[in-house]
């Protein structure tokens, strides 16, 4: 390879990196980039359209629905643990509802979830329920609550960041099961563990495949359930607080975000930010 043929790598605006160019080299491309930036700065502000607003709000709402749905885990758990109610009727009701939905709708899930596989899953869950119950029995309750809290945060994060194609993803299923196992050790009988597990699976894994989260019927039901639960458990004061917060979140925040994005977001911060290569170079 002769000296003439050797191609120089493109100049990058980074400190501390040895490049083929002298230190006081000025790249013509960079000057063009800065000129473009200046031109952009002098551009008139873009006007917010209603479509932009609606799109942003739908994203915010999606996250809200995810949070609502995650509440169901705790609702179910406290139903069994705190209120000491028998979970069997609830479980049977949910199962019948799901079977009904599967029969009506012809989606990919209905072909996958035929009778044989449901029986396998059910028996597997039955067998493994005692094991799940005893997995973290020796751990103290406080650490269980902490663990469950962080697992829930992780679950919300994973579910909201997974793309539309593979909802729910394997990682979210994993985290959900971890959460369920951790909480299941606090329950007293195997039946309760089995019911808890099946309810969680049905609500968080099977149902989202069958019906859309943004279906109006679903939205109304879940809102109703969650707020009732909050009222019953914590009192109307906390329920009202949560309601106000969610209102603010849904109505005010999108507008704020849009406003900030148009007026205060500086594109050149992205450029001026980059001085160092992100990967540390160890000599």
């Amino acid at each position: 390879m002769t000296l003439r043929n050797r191609k120089k790598s493109t100049w990058r605006r980074l400190l501390w990196q040895r490049q083929d160019y002298p230190d006081n080299y000025t790249d013509p491309n960079f000057i063009k980039f800065l000129e473009k930036l200046e031109k952009k700065k002098k551009e008139p502000r873009p006007i917010a359209t209603s479509e932009d607003y609606l799109e942003i709000r739908s994203h915010f709402l999606d996250f809200y629905y995810v949070v609502l749905n995650t509440f169901f885990i705790f609702i179910c758990f406290s139903y069994i643990y705190y209120y000491n109610r028998d979970p069997l009727p609830l479980t049977t009701f949910l199962t019948i509802a799901i079977i009904f939905l599967i029969k009506c709708k012809k989606t990919q899930v209905s072909t996958q979830l035929n009778l044989k596989s449901s029986i396998i899953i059910t028996f597997m869950m039955l067998t493994l329920s005692p094991v799940l119950k005893s997995l973290s029995k020796t751990t103290a309750s406080d650490s269980i609550w902490t663990l469950s809290f962080w697992l829930t945060i992780l679950y919300i994060f994973v579910v909201s960041s997974s793309t539309q194609k593979d909802k729910p993803s394997n990682l979210s299923t994993n985290v959900l099961f971890a959460n369920v196992s951790v909480l299941a050790s606090r329950l007293s009988t195997t039946t309760e563990v089995f019911c808890f597990l099946s309810i969680c699976i049905e609500l968080n894994i099977i149902l989202p495949k069958l019906i859309e989260r943004s279906n109006i019927f679903v939205v109304i039901t879940s809102n109703f359930i969650v707020y009732t639960f909050l009222n019953l458990t914590f009192g109307w004061y906390h329920m009202l607080l949560f309601f106000l917060l969610s209102m603010v979140y849904i109505t005010v925040l999108p507008r704020l975000f849009l406003y900030w994005r148009i007026n205060y977001h500086r594109a050149d911060v992205e450029v001026l930010d980059i001085w160092d290569p992100k990967i540390p170079i160890l000599e």
Partner: protein, 610 residues
């Protein structure tokens, strides 16, 4: 073309003696060697002889009272050398003397040359070394004294060699008839005795190495016995090879007319090996005497302490650890059910092994008897047997650790493997066993659910199994290291190259490791005069089997690879036999058949008797 003239150093003294006469230098040469000066002879003696044989030639002349030789050859370069004394088994060699049997050569490069296809390639002249001329000249040099005696027999007027006193005595004894008859009777008795011993030894060796259940792989004592049997079987063969007609004896025999084709230096390694083994066995017995005296003196102390230590280990370390591993060791919360289950298994195994064989073996009285027996055996047979019995005793006592390690290792291995393949399930991949790679696979919902459930359960059970595995793996590694330490001591006693080492210190010329040609001085014309010296064999080369063994031991039991094996749950086994293959390089693989033995040994003895 330069002609190299090899000049023995002792002739310089003769030069000074015959300073006042004209001297001729007579050299011997073959058609593919250089000139080797046999003798310097005063001109007066040479005049009588008309013609010399083809291989002898007068190559240089020194006038009276001059100090310089004028060569009849063009561009002669003088290389001085100290003639190797055949009686002391000195010789020059281009390669280091090989103390290993050629079929056991563990240098892969050399071994490859013995294979068929590579042999054809290496036979091509292009790949031959270019030292052919030097090699032939060295052969000539090594047999210098023999050629000199032959020359003096052919031309007695030119030079006269006095037969030594020892040769005269030997020839006298050999011709005595009575002595011959006694020798013959004696030799038959000796031969039949040796044959029976060899037969017994071969039988014991084949029993110990029985393919169905080779004791040699399990017990160190069996290995030691097998080694001794092999050595005993090999002794007569070695002896006959060394003292065979036409080798060492021939070299001493002055009346040899036909020079044997083989150089005597071919049998020197056998000589060294034979006496090395003999010396090591005697050393072993004396070491055994020391050991037995020590054992006798400290019998009481040893019995009490060993009893105490074994009891301590079993009750404190094993039992208490098994119990505490089940109950949250170091405050780590383990799964209660699995933990109690595993610790119950291990407690049961400890109890069983303790009552079954450990306790009876290590009561003070039994230990006392055992040490007594041990000291008797070491006294009689040798120290290595004592150490191997101790090793076997230790292996027997550490059987529980072996069981624990394998149980917890298997569990851990399954755990890691299942979690690994379930993890592939989450990434949407599956292991393709046929193609030995990981492919993407589309799983159904039920498969995903069940897989995730199993994965979570296994994940929560990991700390429990891991803690058991770490503890028992550490115990097993400690026991392996102790065993290997003991085995290395046995290996040192059995295979140390003592004879070769002392030989090298006493007379480096008997262990050549190559030659070097250095320039010592310049003659009158400022031409350099060279000297041919033999390099003694490098010490590192003598201990090469040991360094290889050490490296392979370290690699197997004390390296990153070991750690990786432990991490993945692959069991670590001790396979001493395969490793010590290197040290057995001075013995043939199987003991020789009795037929060959009879022919060779019997033949030698009967010939020596005649």
């Amino acid at each position: 073309m330069t002609n190299y003239v090899f000049w023995p150093k002792k002739l310089r003294k003769k030069e000074v003696e015959y300073q006042s006469e004209t001297l001729y230098a007579i050299a011997i040469f073959k058609n593919d060697t250089d000139y080797v000066v046999l003798d310097v002879i005063p001109r007066a003696s040479v005049e009588g002889i008309k013609l010399l044989e083809a291989q002898y030639r007068v190559i240089a002349e020194k006038l009276e009272n001059s100090t310089q030789w004028s060569f009849k050859l063009e561009s002669a370069v003088v290389v001085e050398f100290e003639a190797p004394r055949l009686k002391l088994m000195q010789f020059f060699s281009l390669e280091p003397i090989s103390l290993i049997l050629p079929e056991k050569e563990f240098d892969k490069k050399v071994r490859a040359l013995k294979d068929g296809s590579l042999r054809k390639l290496s036979n091509h002249p292009r790949y031959q070394s270019k030292n052919e001329r030097l090699r032939q000249t060295l052969r000539l040099l090594n047999l210098y004294y023999r050629h000199l005696s032959r020359f003096s027999k052919a031309y007695p007027n030119l030079c006269y060699q006095q037969p030594s006193f020892k040769d005269l005595m030997l020839s006298l004894i050999e011709h005595s008839v009575l002595f011959l008859r006694i020798c013959k009777y004696f030799s038959t008795i000796v031969t039949s005795l040796i044959m029976t011993i060899c037969f017994l030894a071969k039988a014991i060796f084949s029993i110990l190495n029985w393919k169905m259940f080779p004791l040699v792989n399990i017990s160190a004592t069996a290995r030691q016995i097998a080694l001794r049997c092999q050595q005993i079987c090999y002794f007569p063969l070695q002896y006959s090879r060394i003292y065979e007609k036409g080798s060492l004896k021939k070299a001493h025999h002055e009346t040899a007319i036909h020079l044997h084709k083989d150089l005597p230096s071919k049998y020197y390694p056998d000589y060294i090996r034979f006496y090395n083994t003999l010396w090591l066995i005697i050393n072993d017995i004396s070491f055994g005497l020391i050991l037995s005296a020590l054992l006798n003196k400290h019998r009481q102390f040893l019995a009490i302490n060993v009893h105490f230590i074994v009891n301590f280990i079993f009750s404190e370390i094993f039992q208490k650890s098994a119990i505490s591993l089940a109950n949250n060791p170091f405050g780590i919360k383990l799964n209660a059910e699995l933990g109690t289950f595993l610790s119950d298994i291990f407690l049961w195994i400890i109890d069983f092994s303790f009552t079954a064989f450990v306790k009876p073996l290590t009561t003070e009285k039994n230990l006392y008897r055992f040490i007594d027996l041990l000291s008797q055996i070491t006294c009689l047979i040798g120290g290595s047997f004592g150490i191997s019995i101790i090793t076997d005793f230790f292996t027997l006592l550490s059987i529980p650790i072996y069981i624990f390690y394998h149980i917890s290792g298997k569990l851990y291995f399954w755990q890691i493997n299942i979690m690994g393949s379930l993890f592939y399930l989450f990434c949407g991949k599956k292991k393709n066993v046929l193609r030995r790679r990981v492919d993407t696979n589309y799983f159904q919902l039920d498969q995903l659910l069940v897989g995730t459930l199993f994965f979570i359960i296994l994940l929560f059970l990991t700390p429990t199994i891991l803690s058991f595995y770490i503890f028992y793996a550490t115990l097993q590694m400690i026991s392996i290291w102790i065993e290997i330490g003991l085995e290395s001591i046995i290996a040192m006693v059995n295979h140390f190259p003592l004879f070769a080492l002392l030989l090298r210190i006493k007379d480096p010329k008997r262990m050549p490791g190559g030659i070097c040609i250095v320039s010592v001085r310049n003659n009158k014309d400022h031409e350099p005069i060279f000297e041919l010296r033999s390099n003694a064999i490098a010490l590192g080369l003598m201990f090469k089997p040991y360094s290889i063994l050490l490296r392979s031991l370290l690699n197997n039991y004390f390296s990153i690879q070991t750690f990786k094996k432990l991490l993945f749950g692959i069991p670590i086994m001790v396979n001493i036999n395969k490793m010590y293959f290197i040290l057995y390089s001075s013995l043939p693989k199987e003991p020789v058949s009795l037929f060959t033995l009879k022919e060779q040994f019997f033949g030698t003895i009967s010939e020596n008797g005649e």
